[in-house]
């Protein structure tokens, strides 16, 4: 007879279930953006799905770098699919949002069940749009004053949609938890 060992855990070991969850969130983040390519002419509306799925990835597993992994996967998939207008810079855009979420999760592990904190982190994650937009505009040679104003405008929209994306997270996590899908 063989003794059955308990499944290995630990903060720095990613279980298959957690990896699948992160993968699903990354795939859905990309798919949702692809399927909802609405030309709304509203700055930052893509942040709704980005913030939502990256917050969901971090909130549904215990792994510390879940959002970063999901962002890395989603960014890479976007680049390889030739999706979005920023090219390789998409990776930076996803990672910047993900790092804010992972940092917030590190400081406050239980924030993902709370509407206020999720909205706040979603907004902060959306705020990274300022830096990414400023960098892209800088690289194409935009005047610093115009760049600052344009980036600020884009960031304002992204913050708004980030907040909305964050507000959707607790209800989904609560439902997943009730069904026993996440612990």
């Amino acid at each position: 007879m063989n003794p059955v060992a308990e499944p290995a855990g630990g903060l720095f070991r990613l279980s298959l279930k957690d990896a699948l969850f992160i993968g699903f969130c990354a795939v859905f983040a990309v798919l949702a953006r692809m399927m909802l390519r609405l030309h709304l002419h509203i700055s930052g509306h893509a942040m709704l799905v980005t913030a939502f799925f990256l917050l969901l990835a971090r909130g549904s597993v215990r792994y510390r770098f879940a959002a970063s992994f999901a962002g890395l996967l989603a960014g890479s998939a976007s680049i390889f699919l030739g999706f979005a207008k920023s090219g390789p810079f998409m990776l930076v855009k996803y990672l910047a949002v993900a790092l804010v979420i992972d940092l917030a999760g590190l400081l406050m592990p239980n924030l993902f069940r709370n509407y206020f904190w999720c909205a706040l982190v979603g907004g902060l994650a959306g705020g990274t749009k300022f830096f990414t937009a400023y960098s892209v505009n800088y690289m194409v040679g935009m005047d610093p004053t115009v760049n600052f104003q344009a980036s600020l405008f884009e960031a304002a929209g992204a913050i708004l949609f980030g907040v909305l994306g964050g507000l959707l997270v607790p209800v989904v996590l609560r439902r997943l938890h009730a069904y026993g899908v996440i612990s």
């Binding site: 007879m1 063989n2 059955v4 499944p7 609560r174 439902r175 009730a178 069904y179 612990s183």
Partner: protein, 453 residues
């Protein structure tokens, strides 16, 4: 006989629960013996079975489980049929479901048909190999899953509540099957509330006492003094359900039943009995308007079965409670229909508390209904259909997965609602002799016809 599986000081605690559901269990399973695991609803029988199968993941484990080694002659160590067969079915046809395990064991395809047919015969499921799985009744699905495990020749076979799904004929076939398995050295664990029909094959009774401890012996529950249920509340002669010349055609243009006709007066209690697959659930679905019969007429609560018209007046309890539970907590689940009907918050809270207390599950109000045992889910679903106090209740096997204490309590509760609120009831059982005297009239489905017993 040698020991094939051993538990040593095994404890298990579910996440976010302080008290362990299984505590310091020591157990040895010997080859060729049949064990019956008993205990009240929610005592951890299924949890222990899942632990023996190695399917308990989330939660805190302590102690050790020594599992049987897998060899070429016995490629499968432990096989388990879950209480709810629908969560375990993988393929869309009967033959493919039984052959699935053999495919994974790389059995020669030429050898498969004979083994598949033999396994299906052993459980008495005489259906074509291409018969769609979703057209089988719950009892037939349970038989199919037993066949799907038998074909792989496990060392230990665990059956969770076979009595809840199988009719007397199915249990007799199962008894024969267990006898043959024991002769072949296969061990069997039955998690069963009512093992009477399998007594001759059971060697050892084990009981979980509800506090997580395991001991030898059979859980008996509280002894009830036999009593006659009160007569139903018949105040006036008003027909609430009239069925005329009803026929339903199933798979392959085969009639499930035909020329079904009966009337139910307000405040009466009706029981529909019949073996697995005779069409009891199909009949209830037609009455509720979920299925359209090919022929005949249904008049329910003064009109055709229309979901919108019957809103709040008709309550349906499905055989599989998982199909009607969707909220995050038990309290929210029961409050859901009451809120849709626009009741005031105070009334909603009062009705929820009343329904919970009546079903004996007040302590579960904050828990997720999806993580409860099958029997507890059934009680939650029952509470949610009783809370709006409908005029007519259609209950599909309301006692599935419940122990004797809870079964008795549920029957008394149904009678109480019938007498107190004048609720008309129509319930189904697969055992024709279950609860004699509790219904005003018993209708029996057999050979495609419905007749009074």
């Amino acid at each position: 006989m040698g020991v094939i599986l051993r538990l040593k000081k095994f404890s298990f605690t579910y996440p976010e629960v302080k008290t362990p559901v299984l505590q310091d269990l020591d157990l040895e399973i010997e080859a060729g013996r049949c064990y019956c695991l008993t205990g009240p609803t929610g005592s951890g029988k299924t949890t222990l079975a899942l632990a023996l199968k190695g399917l308990l993941c989330a939660g805190k484990h302590e102690g050790e489980i020594y599992m049987p080694s897998v060899t070429d002659s016995t490629p499968m160590a432990v096989g388990m049929v879950l209480q709810d067969p629908e969560v375990q079915l993988l393929t869309s046809s009967v033959g493919a479901e039984v052959a699935f395990g053999l495919e994974n064991l790389c059995v020669d395809p030429a050898d498969m048909p004979e083994r598949v047919v033999s396994a299906l015969q052993a459980v008495g499921l005489e259906k074509p190999l291409d018969y769609p799985v979703d057209k089988l009744s719950m009892g037939q699905k349970y038989r199919l899953l037993i066949a799907a495990l038998l074909v792989m020749k496990p060392l230990l076979l665990i059956l969770d509540e076979p009595g809840a799904q199988l009719d007397p004929e199915g249990l007799e076939l199962l008894r024969e099957c267990l006898r043959r398995l024991k002769q072949d050295g296969v061990s069997i664990i039955l998690c069963e509330h009512r093992p009477d029909s399998l007594l001759s094959e059971i060697d050892t009774f084990l009981q979980l006492d509800g506090s997580g401890r395991l001991a030898e012996g059979r859980y008996q529950g509280e002894k009830f003094a036999p009593s006659s249920p009160p007569f139903s509340a018949i105040t006036e002669k008003e027909t609430v359900l009239r069925v005329q010349d009803l026929s339903f055609i199933g798979v392959g243009d085969q009639p499930v039943w035909s020329q079904v006709a009966f009337t139910v007066d307000r405040g009466r209690r009706f029981s529909v009995t019949g073996m697995n697959g005779t069409g009891k659930t199909t009949l209830l679905r037609c009455l509720a308007g979920f299925l359209s019969p090919q022929q005949g007429e249904i008049e329910i609560l003064g009109g055709a079965p229309d979901a919108y018209r019957l809103r709040g007046r008709l309550g349906c309890l499905f055989q599989n409670p998982q199909k009607q539970i969707f909220e995050n907590t038990v309290g929210e689940e029961i409050a859901f229909p009451l809120k849709r009907f626009g009741l005031l918050n105070g009334t909603v809270e009062e009705r929820v508390a009343e329904a919970l207390a009546a079903c004996g599950i007040s302590h579960l109000i904050e828990q997720s209904p999806h993580k409860l045992s099958y029997g507890q889910k059934h009680l939650v679903a029952l509470a949610s259909v009783l809370a709006p106090r409908p005029e007519l209740l259609l209950l599909d096997d309301p006692l599935a997965g419940l122990d004797d204490d809870h079964s008795r309590a549920v029957m008394e509760l149904l009678v109480h609602y019938n007498v107190q609120h004048g609720t008309t009831m129509l319930w189904t059982f697969h055992d024709p002799d279950a609860w004699p005297g509790w219904a005003d009239q018993v209708l029996h489905l057999e050979g495609g016809r419905l007749a009074p017993r």
